[in-house]
């Protein structure tokens, strides 16, 4: 839990890791657009090829990448099954009441599955290769909101501290005979109250002290503030930008000249 500052971040030094977080955000948005513009297997194949290249460049192990899919597997299968049975089309293979299986429905489902997988993998690539702080720094620099990055930074700093504290209070209450494991849901919720109250009080006290410490270090809002680490674009970002642009254009052209399946 101490690693919350890094979220899912997989610390290696790769091409993708060293790209500017702003560019990675742009890439993700462009990629998602491409996935939904793509309406034939050629276009979707192009998206998949680009994503495979990104994964390979990132040096994040395949197992980790696939683990991201596992979390949404049930959801994906569920949506696919629903759309197979409810999608209406011309070539009907099977029909029962409002349920039907059509050629178009099957295509649509397969598309849906591939799209969702691509979506999930691409988003998790962003979190595997970018620390939460770098990500908020990126968002801050795009939208010019300073507090956002500060809040994020402080939250990440204090989550592990408060987790430890929760554990400590819980153990102290256990030592006095509190029981958190048995009883019905109401009993358990009631047992949490004696943990929650000291935790909230302590969080307020910490916030108070942190406020003083920030004041003492001349914190005066975002106006005059400068940044120690500035984000800069490099040739990597140009490569990534061109790839994203080429992908979106390519997919759009395929949609116009080849058409849907």
């Amino acid at each position: 839990m101490k690693d919350v500052a890094f979220g899912q971040y997989y610390p290696v030094n790769s091409f993708v890791h060293r790209c500017d977080p702003r560019l990675k955000l742009f890439f993700l948005v462009a990629f998602i657009a491409a996935i939904f513009v793509a309406n034939n297997f050629w276009a979707l194949g192009a998206c998949a090829a680009v994503l495979i290249a990104v994964v390979a460049l990132s040096r994040v192990p395949l197992g980790k990448v696939l683990r991201a899919i596992r979390g949404v597997l049930i959801l994906v299968i569920f949506s696919a099954v629903i759309s197979v049975f409810f999608y209406s089309g011309e070539t009907v293979y099977w029909k029962y009441g409002i349920l039907c299986v059509t050629r178009e429905g099957i295509f649509f489902s397969v598309f849906l599955i591939i799209r969702l997988f691509l979506l999930v993998i691409c988003s998790s690539m962003l979190t595997y290769t970018t620390t939460p702080v770098a990500l908020t720094d990126g968002i801050e620099s795009i939208f010019h909101v300073h507090v956002l990055a500060l809040i994020m930074s402080i939250a990440l700093r204090f989550i592990p501290i408060l987790m430890d504290e929760t554990e400590r209070i819980k153990n102290a209450q256990k030592a006095r005979g509190a029981d958190f494991e048995s009883g019905n849901i109401f009993k358990r919720i009631k047992a949490i109250v004696p943990i929650l109250i000291p935790l909230i009080l302590s969080a307020f006290r910490r916030a108070d002290e942190l406020g003083d410490a920030m004041d003492a270090r001349c914190y005066m809002g975002g106006k005059k503030r400068t940044k120690y680490k500035k984000l800069t674009f490099s040739w990597r970002d140009l490569v990534a930008f061109l790839t994203a642009a080429a992908l979106v254009t390519g997919v759009a052209l395929l949609r116009v000249y080849v058409g849907g399946m």
Partner: protein, 274 residues
């Protein structure tokens, strides 16, 4: 010029009974001042007054001649750094060097200057090797050294440590004391060390004892410890080793007033041999 000069400063919390009344305190440039006092005697209140976190009801505070008022608040804050007690509640960033840069970023320094100061501050506290470390994985002493570095990055001329060693183990405490001594000696930073540990007060040039919002005693640390009985009335007890030294002297053995066991042992050995 005095580093810090308070004249007739009074302050009370809203609705609270506690009051700092007519406080006069002068701290010279380069001085190492220890502030002692029982719990609730007003030490932290004093620290917060001296860099404008709290505002006095009346009286004036000057820092190197600059009055501490609305107009000069940040100018003074840049000069008077405060390190607090809890190592976990004064860091804003997860990575050491990002946190050290925080103060320097706040005052709008150019990036190259921030980089220089981060380098300097981390070097001064001996944490350069851990500049990319994760703060939550550091020891208490290391965290407090980061906090000191964060203050140093603003290049203060006065540094106040408000019981900054209280939550540390003996080793962490030693680390901090070493760093503070060095900053006082080499960087000529004026130090105000608020502490419960008499041993630490011994390092100072001068010590004051606070009692109920007033300065009750001002003397050299040794002079203060010599007033053993008086300290008791301010709810301060000499550490046992000091009491032993005192009793030995009363019993006719020639030993110095000391809190250092080694030194006491040496003295005993010498006078017994004689």
């Amino acid at each position: 010029m005095h580093a810090i000069e308070t004249k007739d400063v009074s302050f009370s919390y809203e609705g609270g009974g506690f009051r700092i009344a007519h406080l006069d305190l002068t701290v010279e440039e380069g001085e190492f001042l220890a502030v002692l006092g029982h719990n609730g005697s007003g030490k932290s209140t004093l620290a917060r007054l001296l860099n404008g976190i709290l505002v006095p009801d009346s009286g004036t505070i000057r820092v190197f001649g600059t009055p501490l008022d609305d107009q000069h608040l940040y100018e003074v804050r840049k000069q008077v750094g405060v390190v607090f007690q809890n190592p976990d509640n004064q860091t804003v960033a997860s990575i050491v060097e990002d946190d050290v840069a925080f103060g320097a970023e706040n005052v709008g320094l150019p990036r190259e200057e921030i980089a220089k100061r981060v380098e300097f501050a981390l070097g001064a506290v001996g944490m350069l090797g851990l500049r990319n470390a994760v703060v939550s994985r550091l020891s208490g002493g290391q965290k407090q050294r980061v906090a000191i570095a964060g203050v140093l990055a603003l290049k203060p001329r006065v540094m106040i440590l408000d019981e900054s060693t209280a939550m540390l183990d003996p080793r962490g405490r030693r680390e901090i004391v070493e760093v503070v001594k060095k900053l006082n000696r080499e960087e000529k930073i004026t130090v105000i060390l608020i502490t419960h540990f008499m041993e630490e007060a011994l390092l100072a040039d001068r010590a004051v004892v606070m009692n109920r919002g007033e300065i009750a005693l001002t003397d050299t640390p040794a002079g203060i410890f010599a007033r053993h009985e008086e300290l008791l009335t301010y709810n301060l007890a000499l550490p046992r080793i000091g009491v032993i030294a005192k009793k030995l002297t009363e019993g006719g053995l020639r030993v110095r007033d000391t809190l250092d066991p080694e030194q006491l042992a040496e003295d005993i050995a010498r006078s017994v041999r004689r």
